[in-house]
């Protein structure tokens, strides 16, 4: 019965995703009211603050356009705990990615507006100008750099596997050897990494969101979910009886995606990231959102890797 309820909720989320993707974003706009506590970090660095203004570039056509719109439209995940997660009770979008958007918006002196961007939508959303930036656990790689620009690396993730606690499989190679089904996300780097690791195309079961993939794992439709550890930790936390296993078999440097031709915005975001690394804000966000799941101390910010 719980599964049924979860399923109905998943369908509801999907419908909500469709409606927020359908052009107008009034629902998304109401997610982060200025007074909400989650948004307050952004308020701590308004454009007027002398310390912030000193080191950040201020001029540029894209920056001006965002300022005159009064909002920074930010594509994030809505179902990935610790990075981008829409809290079902408060309606706020929480997580590392979401707070990055708040920092950037705050530095620009505008409000952040959140739009759900699932893996397959991220690059099209940028190219169609439906969002200003994408902070949606997106790996920066060569193929994507041909399509869009990326900021500096704001987090270094690695791909692992998520299995049921009673599963005999320890590593991705076990999964390949056993020839079992592996679930992952459509249009993600994880999908192609699995093919490179030797998972047969026919054994890949792909879904639009990772919450659907986790549901499929619980139902026994696949034997493992594999993607970035940053996403898997949240899934393990949400669902009892699932655990993350093995060493990371890829390096996934996450960056903020920006449409090509907006160099001023890229430079601005890089400057914000540098500032966050220097003043300890990056480590604060890590401690708030990621440490509870990994239990590891904040590493050095990986910005210039």
């Amino acid at each position: 019965m719980r599964r049924l309820v979860a399923l109905l909720m998943a369908s509801g989320l999907l419908l909500a995703a469709c409606s927020s993707g359908g052009g107008g974003t009034p629902a998304a706009g109401s997610l982060a009211p200025a007074g909400s506590p989650a948004a307050s970090p952004a308020g701590s660095a308004p454009a007027g603050s002398p310390a912030a203004a000193a080191s950040l570039p201020t001029e540029g056509p894209t920056l001006d356009a965002i300022r005159s719109a009064g909002k920074l439209v930010c594509g994030v995940k809505f179902d990935v705990i610790a990075f981008g997660f829409r809290n079902p009770t408060s309606g706020d979008v929480e997580g590392f990615d979401a707070d990055l958007c708040r920092e950037i918006a705050g530095a620009l002196g505008v409000e952040p507006e959140f739009v759900e961007a699932i893996s397959a939508n991220r690059i099209p959303f940028l190219q169609e100008d439906r969002v200003d930036i994408i902070a949606s656990t997106m790996t920066r790689n060569e193929e994507r750099l041909g399509q869009i620009d990326f900021s500096k690396i704001y987090y270094l993730a690695g791909q692992k596997i998520l299995v049921k606690s009673d599963s005999p499989h320890q590593t991705v190679d076990d999964l390949v050897a056993a020839g079992v089904k592996v679930c992952s996300g459509q249009g993600s780097t994880s999908e192609t990494n699995l093919l490179d690791k030797g998972v047969a195309e026919a054994n890949l079961v792909l879904f639009a969101t990772y919450s659907e993939a986790a549901q499929a794992l619980l139902d026994g439709r696949c034997d493992a979910v594999s993607t970035d550890d940053s996403i898997l930790f949240g899934l393990a936390q949400q669902n009892e009886g699932l655990e993350v296993r093995g060493e990371a078999f890829t390096q996934e440097p996450l960056g903020i995606g920006i449409k090509k031709g907006k160099e001023d915005l890229v430079a601005f975001i890089d400057a914000v990231l540098d500032q966050m690394a220097a003043n300890g804000r990056w480590a604060e966000l890590y401690d708030t959102h990621i440490k509870p799941y990994t239990g590891e101390e904040a590493p050095e910010p990986p910005l210039d890797m």
């Binding site: 399923l7 397959a120 041909g146 459509q186 639009a208 499929a216 439709r221």
Partner: protein, 217 residues
């Protein structure tokens, strides 16, 4: 060059195309069987079979296919009912039940279009009820039902794309796979043409069938 990405990934798209054909054909056959049986219940069954038929039709015809497929994917999964984990089989079951509801209504309308005098004449010649249905009613009903069933089949081909949401590797799924890996929307044009080629072929075949089965007027 336009078309290059589609040609380079043709094996993926062809695989999806074949799966879509298999899925549509399979579901249509099952839906026709469901349609004949349930329509018969509806028209000639007693009170209970007839109400059950009404319930089936009204439920499957009036709820979204996507949610039905999500529902079957979870309910049929190994750790629940334990019937199947295969997205193709789930889609086949879901599409058959959904399309069966529409097929039932089409076939029922065909049966009701037959003059009651036909049944009376057959019965007074001494044919049993089953023989009357089999030899007199259904052969005539099929002729009137070909055009509406053609619409049902065409809708089925188009609806089969919904199965991509549960991970069935059919034409749309494969098109999206290629589109995502190549950062190009071009494969989706191929997908569109693929569905069109199927529904267009269906129209042509049905047009011929209609002419062959037509009543002399």
């Amino acid at each position: 060059m336009f078309g290059q990405i589609t040609i380079e990934n043709l094996d993926y798209l062809v695989q999806g195309y074949v799966t879509t054909i298999a899925l549509s054909l399979g579901a249509m056959v099952v839906a026709l069987i469901i349609g004949c049986v349930v329509a018969s219940f509806r028209v000639w069954g007693g009170r209970v079979p007839s109400s059950a038929a009404v319930f089936y039709v009204e439920f499957f015809r009036n709820t979204p296919l996507l949610i039905q497929l999500f529902f079957f994917a979870v309910v049929l999964a190994p750790n629940n009912l334990g019937i199947t984990a295969d997205p193709f089989l789930v889609a086949l079951i879901g599409l058959s039940l959904y399309t069966g509801a529409f097929a039932t209504e089409a076939i029922r309308s065909g049966i009701l279009a037959i003059d009651p005098g036909q049944v009376e004449a057959a019965r007074s010649l001494g044919l049993s009820q089953l023989a009357t249905i089999r030899l007199v009613v259904l052969p005539q009903a099929i002729r009137t039902v070909v055009p509406p069933l053609g619409n049902v089949a065409s809708a089925l081909i188009r609806n089969s794309s919904v199965a991509s949401a549960i991970g069935t590797r059919e034409l749309l799924f494969m098109g999206l796979l290629v589109a995502n890996r190549t950062f190009s929307l071009e494969p989706l044009i191929g997908v569109l043409l693929g569905y069109w080629s199927l529904t267009l072929t269906l129209s042509l075949v049905l047009g011929r069938l209609e002419r062959r089965l037509a009543f002399a007027r």
